[in-house]
Symmetry: C2
Subunit: 288 residues, 2 copies
Amino acid sequence: MKLALIGVGLIGGSLAAALRAARRVDSVSGFDCDPSALVEALRLGIIDRAAASIDEAVRGADLIVIATPVGVAGAVLRSVAPSLDVDAIITDVGSTKGSVIAAAREALGAKFPRFVPAHPIAGRELNGVVHASADLFEGKMLITTPLPETAAPALARVEELWRGLGARVERLGHQDHDRIFAAVSHLPHLLAFALVAQIAGEPDANRKFQHAGAGFRDFTRIAAASPAMWRDVCLANKQAVASELTSFRDTLAKLQQAIEAGDAAALELMFERASSARRRHASDFDSA
Amino acid sequence: MKLALIGVGLIGGSLAAALRAARRVDSVSGFDCDPSALVEALRLGIIDRAAASIDEAVRGADLIVIATPVGVAGAVLRSVAPSLDVDAIITDVGSTKGSVIAAAREALGAKFPRFVPAHPIAGRELNGVVHASADLFEGKMLITTPLPETAAPALARVEELWRGLGARVERLGHQDHDRIFAAVSHLPHLLAFALVAQIAGEPDANRKFQHAGAGFRDFTRIAAASPAMWRDVCLANKQAVASELTSFRDTLAKLQQAIEAGDAAALELMFERASSARRRHASDFDSA
């Protein structure tokens, strides 16, 4: 199989490395708008060929993986469309699905059924192809959000590839996907970015960072994620993210009222609800 | 040395276990308002004697450690005061220092110089003495917030004990302590409790928890902390916590405006500020 990888970063690079390690690809051509990512990927043996354009990367490929920030998925898909081989399958790894599907539908036209929208629930606190890892997806969830038009063989092929890398494959409607991940992924990342940015902007930032306990360290780890990727996620999933943010700001307003009123019972009730939910769902987290 | 442990939970139990493992104590008497904690601590060999009252635990002890939620520190110190041996030292492990110091000053009167306010920056996601661990404080920070009145020998003794357990000891003014930890500990815990409680209360909570990525799992781990302990922390450090919450709610409001306005540059700027702060302070976290 010939793979074309558009966007050679942590996730795309890890996917290519994993497919290579599993001997599922014969060759990988890569394109990235950052030439140093291509140099690094060649050096690491993650790609065989650094393409000078999307067109050059895609020509002759059996599988095209879009692994760019979701904000440029539309532009990338428009460049991919004319060069596609007749049997080629296209898939992506984006954290939002509605916006990418809309872009793919417009860019690919009659070839849209060959696009398989996918999202691996995996990441690291270190960005870039230099931190790619062939085992990043082992035991992780891979979500596909197929449409009625999606070609069944293309979907089966993509899901089978991910299963071969150790991922647990699950299908969701793209609206459910975007709503669920606004709550359990996009909002937490926003809160972590916001808290770390706020503290970093304070005059005694250094002293505060030096006294960080485990809780704040978890926040900084989350906030180490790629700014460009998360900027695009917020904008691509704007409605669901804004709705989660609104609810959360209401929750914080109530919390502050309880603190200022000295309402110990209300505080303990909220904290206990969180703590017991964690205990109740511990098995979800252990298996994830 | 005879140790009296008032409050036999994760932190107090770990401290007693660590002092025992380091052969720094000859006997440990424990008191807890929850009898099952005492039974468990006896079974684990963390205490030698389950006292029926604070008075009974404290009588004859050289060192008294208050390891209850900070909200009851005042009541505990009032019970401790009359039974104190003439040379006994009192210390605590509370996450807030201003409120505990005020309570100690009132409760201990002339014996206040023998109180050494202390706060180990260590914890786990599992609560209770059953999860106590003798190596919990190894390599962690221990903060003391002595007052001008604090007896130098008592302070030296407590700091030396913690150093013997592998902790890095640092002194801070109690107001600095409370302000810094409102930002890097109390607020992050509040956010984690609030987010997990909010999602737990939604109709599709189960599906959301099942799709949690690493970021949300970090939040749930933070939110697994003791509700009673954190309720007390919020109320004991009310002013500093409310001030951090106010700033954070402003930050979120600006973030939401940027998302709704599609202001990609503002989002990337905030995320980049957080991400680069994490990189800049990586060494603080690695050593912590």
